[in-house]
Assembly symmetry: C2
Homo-oligomer: 205 residues x 2
């Protein structure tokens, strides 16, 4: 296999998804860190060589660069049982991963970043005005997850898939954004279930 | 194949993605329309049977329901040449599809919906305040596409894939949201290229 380098900001849940997938698969990653708070992913060099979109994570596979956390997870898990073999289940896994990027990450992850990394007193007026809407949308996302998990152990089929990885990354640290997971007991139980699996690593590893 | 029903709002680009994929593959879809402007996807019946997330499109496959436009396209195109066979190219296709949902749709599609479907005079104060940021983010998305397309005919590999379908849907009607595609000539040429392919159908079909 080509050498794999993860271009990342370690506390980012999107970057953690890739490390967690690799850990479950036993794939070694070299890690290269950038401080997104000080703009290290917006330098001309980063934009020209790593990702024109100015974002991490990017998975470097030999000489090629693959942005977007969920796409990198799919590349890593290719042919493994972290991607269901069944046609419907495979698409349903992607359904949760697209939903994560559209409905979950912009709310649950963004509030964590604003409150725990930037700090509420340093938010712009626009960010401050968006807080309530993002809080409501994040709560709606957690409620949808809770209803789905009320009758099943994992998001798709009966075992861990990339849908769980994608959603675990920011859900298990949602408390840092002010979401109390005790309100969503099926989500809290699933978080414990994922963390107890063999091969699991923490976001701080 | 199980009977396929597309639960949709016809002018939505997300719904059009599924019809366009089906047209290229020669797959027949039954269509069932809902008016999102009057809330027909938020009724108790829709939430209980079609999509707890209250959104269209949903692809119904026999008795099962698959939300998220890009996931539905992947289900439809399974095993076809609209999904590259190569492992990297397959993940790279998904990379553009995740990027579409995170960076493109919330800006390019949302401005079209606000300006051409709701009407600028009927926007809420929050929406009005968000216009400038969404305009800038939409322009940045189109610029990234333009740079990528400057040296290639399609997003991944050398032929149409679901990455093109996902990005074409809202890009070709970006003018309705006030984006003048003449500013992004490689994007404009790619729009013409996609529309000229055999099997293409218009969003109004």
């Amino acid at each position: 296999m080509a050498e794999l380098i993860l271009h990342e900001y370690a506390p980012s849940g999107n970057c953690y998804k890739i490390r967690l997938t690799s850990a479950h698969l036993g794939i070694a990653l070299e890690r290269r860190g950038y401080d997104i708070v000080t703009g290290e992913t917006r330098t001309p060099e980063f934009l020209a060589t790593v990702n024109a979109n100015g974002r991490i994570p990017v998975l470097q596979i030999g000489e090629r660069f693959l942005p977007e956390s969920n796409a990198a997870c799919v590349w890593l898990a290719h042919g493994s049982d972290m991607i269901p073999a069944d046609r419907f289940d495979q698409a349903d896994m992607l359904r949760w991963m697209f939903w994560e990027q559209y409905n979950h990450e912009p709310n649950v992850a963004t509030l964590r970043f604003w409150l725990a990394f930037i700090g509420e007193d340093k938010l712009t007026d626009d960010q401050r005005r968006a807080l309530a809407a993002k809080r409501a949308a994040g709560e709606a996302a957690l409620t949808l997850m809770d209803e789905h998990l009320a009758t099943r152990a994992f998001f798709v089929g009966d075992r861990l898939s990339l849908a769980d990885i994608a959603l675990y990354a920011y859900t298990h640290v949602a408390g840092e954004g002010g979401f109390d997971l005790a309100r969503w007991p099926a989500v809290a139980a699933w978080v414990d279930r994922v963390a107890a699996l063999p091969g699991h690593i923490s976001i701080a590893d």
